[in-house]
Amino acid sequence: MQHLGFSHKKIKIGSFDFTCCEGCQLQLANHESTLPAFLDLLDIRNFREISSEKHDDYDIALVEGSITREDEIERLKTIRKNAKVLIAYGTCACFGGVNSLKNNFPIEETVREVYGNNSVDTLPVRRIGDVVKVDYSIPGCPVSKEEVERIIISVATGSMINLPKYPVCVECKQQLNTCLFDLGEICLGPITRAGCNAVCTTGKTVCLGCRGPADDINFESFLQLVADRQLSLDELDEKLGFYNCFEEFRHDKS
């Protein structure tokens, strides 16, 4: 930002994954046309997926995945100690994500079902924010590279930007989609935070709410509209639980 009399420094960055599909990290390598410019902003200190070099001095730690094992807690705490800013990215990190579905079953049963009599080390799924302090969250399953790019740039240029406060319907309408409720489906768009450009509904599948609740949502009215249309409340509940993003609202209801 030479024109304002200061220049940006390369951001020392580390990217770390916990229990997840690593799809969010993969997004960092997408958007090929701007990729070299994007990498040029960064001083990658620790990023196992793409580099063999490892250092512990990073300003920003991008943390992906949820916490499901004892050793992960320790590793995460160390990362928190090293990092000035910790950004949870991806729905798993921010909300637990699909991993949380396993919390629906008792742990012993789960382990027995999948691993038989072999013992495995596993804990109920926790979000990053349940274990350490999170400075910023970038939700999404997977995160949108444009949004990550924007946020990283805003860190580099010294101005933290916010996520949209409005729900997915805004972007969905801007894509000129047919509302899926008109096609008889239950879509979580009206209560989910925008920022994904309504990819799912644009692909004509319902929003499952991977970005979590928008600001100040009207959950009552949303439940009412599902009921008014005689759509299945069980299905609604399955959708609300899919990414574990609407826990507080589901509990309020019951």
């Binding site: 930002m1 024109h3 304002l4 009399g5 200061f6 240029t157 010294g158 101005s159 933290m160 930007i161």
Partner: protein, 302 residues
Amino acid sequence: MHFRVPGQDINREPFADNVPDFHYQSSLMQTDKGYKCRITNIVPLTEQEKLFQLRILDPDERNLFRFRPGQFLMLQVPGYGEVPISISSSTSNNEQVELCIRKAGHVTNVLFEAQKGAHVAIRGPFGSSFPMEEMMDRNVILVAGGLGIAPLRAPLFWINDHRDRYKDVHMLYGTKEPSQMLFTYQFEEWEKINHIDLHTIVEQGTPDWNGRTGMITKLFSEIDIDPENTHAIVCGPPVMFKFVCNYLDKQGIPMNRMFVSLERRMHCGMGKCCRCMVGSTFTCVDGPVFDYWSVMNLKEAI
């Protein structure tokens, strides 16, 4: 047969490369173009506020930029955004524009990092102004709360420039704490040279504060008001101007002789983004300066 609808390149129209003149509004087309400025000086006032002195680089544009007390401009910080800021300097100062800015968010934070010599841009001036001519030959009470002093400086400078045309001028200024008091370095000049009757107060004193403490309305006990002959200009948070104006109303000053400056979210300054609506009035075009009667009549104003 020619069926290709011919394109019309409006870039070639004369307005497309004219210098935008925000006064001569009907021919204005470069609505997003600002006047480029250099920040010539930055004066730290408190932890939260700094005074920025800006000089428009292009002489033609500098000549175009004339404003009236109470108007504001849109300050563009390329790469960060645009914010409405009251013009806090004298209308007779054609060389520089002064802005007193509080660190409040995204754009203002980065302004606090900016260095002397930095290049920003301004669009404007926009909005209504205080009717200074109307107040001539009368008493004026200026009441400022906190950052409300920023838009009050322009009318104050105006009065100082035309001091002989105004009768008694009182200035009441209150902040939360002594450390938040702005422009203290000018107090003496205002009092001694400009004969402004200045009264200050803080809500919460500190051990080294030996002035008054309390709400700003307390200061009214120190001045005599001649309701027939007085105009008031009030700037500050809505709760404050509500109390002040109600008090002045009780003293008998008609509501249309009290002026306040409203603040709303703004993205254009031109009555287009509609973010600054109060009821069905644009703060950016019809305001920010309103007389108190209009404010009382605006739905959702306070």
